[in-house]
């Protein structure tokens, strides 16, 4: 039965009938009802047959753009994941790159890469997918004056600097000199320096190809992108309301979709999205608020899962302030923080305490790499603190007010620093993200700050280079650390790279310019209508094509 969207329960009941009594009664009920919570989530424990067809809906937050290179928003990536095939994808088991739009990607020196495309692939408008389509998309994103969000993902490709002159001049070229179209199906990519993690980078949606239409009518394309993936848009994106996808008939790639259609319903409030799931009007909520963890577990049982993610929170230290120059003091601060206590009290154990600078799902992650530095040891912290000479003046904690939980955990950290280290004057500096950004980028903060990292690809290198590498806002610059990263980038095999990255991480953990706090995890809950739900930390949200539907 290919019915597309499920009818809303409303339409079956005939709206408008007996309106006044109902409204009056509703008024009375709302006014006088106690907190009587309902448990009516569509619970259906029968297995969902693994047959193609049917449609399901996913709760989403409004994305910013739907053109791959123009966005790095995780909400946009969830949609693009279905509409576009990137050159490579990541294996759900361990995150290693596997072919998707490309059939192979090879290099002998980690610097010059040859990408061969799958034969016969077409965009959803019939246009063939060619090496030129990839080159055009990458050129557009890397061209500074485009103002595209994913610009910085192209830094490693040769010629990037010509498209982004630092002094505000207009670039003289629109093309990355490192891209060479050898024929319709072969693209040669030359990087500025050897970079062994390049294949992983190619799983990021900004590296998907674009058809001609993306350049002739960019605004129209952003509302109705045409991709090379298993799903295509069914009508344009309706801002703040919905994005509808349907099976792309032209798709011949390695991940044909099971369902006929996916409907994204856009919510501003994640609580409301969860309520809709309980009412049976939405099939997936991939970011259940942490505060509703116990309710979600109880209500959805087997249709609830915690999906580990690579996202992490850190406490950055203002190493440009001489009071924080001593690594011993930085370690004392780290050991005074009760990570398990905070993740339990504020995040209902949905977040997990960090024991390394890199996320727990990253290949090469070493449990306990941080050692006792990341453990809660108040007495030793106090000793270290005194050995380091203590602290004078106000210790200010900087964070954005984008989420109420930041204030909660920062308050907890402030109290622990007072109690465990005896710092009398701890202040909270909370402000809008737009205000905090410049303060941190210009090194004007005089105290520890909240630093968050969302992994772009599952590699230790992404964390270490992105957070602590040259030119990052941590202000930390260690030649030995940078050299170790470069050696890892140039290594021939994954194992050799990881060995170098481990050494770099150990160095950073000794100096501790950045204190690991906790790993984020996403709670996903789904209705009894959908099956084959496999959550992995490497995909941008759900793998849309795998889901089966009872229909």
């Amino acid at each position: 039965m290919l019915t597309g969207r499920r009818p809303e329960r409303r339409s079956e009941r005939g709206p408008g009938r007996r309106l006044l009594p109902r409204t009056l009664l509703a008024f009375a009920l709302v006014a006088f009802a106690g907190a009587s919570c309902a448990r009516t989530a569509a619970e259906d424990d029968r297995p969902v047959p693994a047959v193609p067809g049917g449609a399901y809906s996913v709760a989403l937050t409004e994305p910013d753009h739907l053109t791959p290179g123009r966005t790095t928003s995780s909400y946009a990536l969830q949609v693009l994941q279905g509409v576009f095939d990137t050159p490579l994808a990541l294996d759900p088991q361990d995150g290693h790159p596997v072919p998707l739009a490309a059939s192979s990607l090879t290099s002998t020196d980690q610097q010059v890469w040859t990408m061969t495309l799958r034969q016969g692939a077409v965009f959803q408008n019939g246009e063939p997918v060619t090496a030129a389509g990839f080159a055009a998309a990458w050129d557009a994103a890397a061209y500074g004056p485009s103002g595209w969000d994913a610009n910085s993902y192209f830094t490693q490709i040769a010629g990037y600097d010509d498209l982004n002159p630092p002094d505000g001049r207009l670039p003289t070229t629109r093309h990355l000199s490192g891209l060479q179209v050898l024929d319709d199906h072969t693209l040669r990519v030359t990087l500025k320096a050897p970079f062994s993690q390049f294949p992983m980078l190619l799983s990021f949606p900004a590296f998907a190809p674009l058809p001609q239409a993306a350049f002739t009518d960019p605004d129209g394309f952003d509302l109705h992108p045409v991709g090379n993936g298993p799903f295509q848009l069914d009508g344009p994106w309706r801002h703040n309301q919905r994005i509808d996808l349907k099976r792309a008939a032209s798709y011949t790639g390695p991940r044909p979709p099971m369902a006929d259609a996916v409907h994204f319903r856009i919510f501003t409030s994640k609580d409301t999205a969860f309520t809709e799931l309980r009412a049976g009007h939405v099939d997936f909520v991939t970011s259940v608020p942490a505060a509703r963890a116990y309710e979600a577990k109880r209500t959805f049982g087997r249709h609830y899962a915690v999906r580990p993610s690579g996202t992490m929170d850190y406490l950055g230290l203002p190493i440009w302030d001489p009071r924080y120059a001593n690594p011993q003091l930085r370690r004392a601060i780290s050991m005074a923080i009760d990570r398990p206590g905070i993740t339990r009290a504020i995040y209902n154990e949905v977040f997990t305490p960090a024991d390394s600078l890199v996320g727990a799902t990253i290949p090469g992650h070493r449990a306990g790499a941080c050692g006792e530095t990341c453990e809660y040891r108040p007495t030793e912290a106090r000793q270290l603190f005194q050995q380091a000479g203590g602290f004078t003046g106000t210790l200010a904690l900087y964070f954005a007010n984008s989420d109420p939980t930041y204030l909660q955990w920062m308050t907890a950290v402030a109290n622990e620093l007072r109690q465990n280290l005896g710092i009398r004057d701890v202040a909270l500096r909370t402000m809008a993200a737009a205000d905090l950004g410049p303060i941190l980028n210009h090194h004007q903060a005089t105290g520890p700050y909240r630093q968050n990292w969302v992994a772009d690809y599952p590699s230790e290198q992404n964390y270490l280079a992105g957070l602590l590498g040259p030119g990052t806002r941590s202000g930390w610059s260690d030649p030995a650390f940078n050299a170790l990263l470069a050696q890892g980038d140039a290594a021939a095999t994954a194992e050799q790279s990881i060995a170098h990255y481990h050494q770099a991480e150990d160095l950073a953990l000794q100096q501790l310019p950045l204190i690991p706090l906790w790993n984020w995890q996403d709670q996903t809950a789904w209705s009894g209508r959908v099956g084959n739900v496999q959550l992995d930390p490497y995909a941008a949200g759900l793998r849309l094509e795998q889901i089966t539907v009872r229909h």
Binding site: E8, R10, S11, R13, P15, R22, A26, F27, A28, L29, V30, A31, A33, A35, S36, C37, A38, T40, D64, H65, G144, S146, G147, W148, N151, S152, T155, L163, N164, P165, P166, G168, D219, D222, H239, N240, Q241, R265, I266, F267, T268, S269, D271, T272, A273, T275, E276, R278, A279, A432, A433, A434, D435, G437, P438, N441, Q451, N452, W453, T472
Partner: protein, 308 residues
């Protein structure tokens, strides 16, 4: 009357200019960098930063920015949001939602409020009166987000009478529940106002005269007492229409209605000057017109008031 209307309409021009400039200045002097704020914890390459600052006129002094904005305004161009969508286009889609929600709430507020108020007023001191007084106190005391989530759970999820959220079901179905929640505070107010005002007028001399000359009770209450006691209620409802349109931020958030409230909230967070000013301009217009309507209505309700 015509000259009065024209004069009042002309007054709105300086009011609009002053408010847009005020808001523009306020957004401008806020510290922080909106473009960097968009990118989160990741540094933006200098070339991209420069391009985006230029695109949204953020690299120019206040007066140049404001002059550019006014020039655009005269051409009917309200600027662009940070995602590149024209503000006018974003507003057009959202106004329909806010207008429907505001009007639904306003009608519910006016209807429920006066009916309950008259009911209570006519049964002063009896259980009906106490029920209305107690009920309205409760509703006024409970914060709107608690009412909202409660209404969703009870009436949407458990009983399934209303859609839980969104606008898919169309008007009026999709707007009844949020409208009710939004109206609850004002309806309580209107009911109390109507009750008090009605009681006052029922004791007036002209009502006794009307009763003495043998008019039926119904006619005395409806045509004489109620009509006069509605004056303060109409004043309240007039101003309330503006507040309902402007103040639906929480309701729109809970019920996932893509309206103006949602947008202005997000725009302030993002420091999106053109959007904030655009919305404010339209809201000022709405307030001016609502006030004008109230003043005109006075004349219809009370023949002693004349406009010329």
């Amino acid at each position: 009357m015509g000259r009065y209307l024209l004069r009042r309409l002309l007054y709105t021009v300086p009011v609009l200019l002053a408010t847009t400039f005020l808001i523009y200045t306020l957004v401008f002097v806020l510290p922080g960098d909106p473009i960097q704020g968009l990118a989160g914890d990741r540094p933006v390459p200098a070339s991209v930063l420069a391009e985006l600052r230029h695109r949204y006129h953020l690299d120019q002094p206040l007066f140049v920015q404001y002059a550019a904005y006014l020039r655009g305004l005269l051409r009917g161009d309200l600027g662009r949001t940070f995602t590149g969508e024209p503000v006018a286009q974003a507003l057009a889609g959202r106004w329909q939602v806010t207008l429907r929600l505001g009007l639904t709430a306003w009608l519910l507020e006016a209807g429920l409020g006066t009916v309950l108020g008259v009911w209570a007023g006519l049964h002063r001191g009896r259980w009906a009166d106490r029920l209305v007084l107690g009920g309205t106190t409760l509703v006024i005391a409970v914060p709107v987000y608690i009412l909202g989530y409660l209404a969703q759970l009870v009436l949407g999820v458990r009983l399934g009478w209303f859609p839980v959220s969104g606008t898919d079901a169309g008007w009026p179905t999709a707007y009844l529940l949020p409208g009710l929640v939004l109206a609850s505070f004002g309806a309580g107010y209107v009911a109390r106002l109507t009750r008090t005002s009605l009681l006052e007028h029922l004791r007036a001399d002209y009502v006794r005269t009307a009763t003495a000359k043998g008019l039926p009770r119904r006619r005395v209450v409806v045509r004489h007492a109620l009509r006069n006691s509605l004056l303060p209620v109409v004043t309240f409802l007039g101003v309330e229409l503006g507040s309902l349109l402007a103040g639906a931020v929480v309701t729109e958030y809970i019920f996932n209605l893509p309206g103006i409230g949602q947008q202005v909230f997000q725009a302030i967070q993002l420091r999106e000057g053109p959007t904030v000013v655009g919305v404010t301009t339209v809201l000022v217009l709405v307030f001016c017109l609502a006030n004008l309507t109230v003043d005109v209505l006075y004349g219809l309700l009370d023949p002693r008031i004349r406009h010329d």
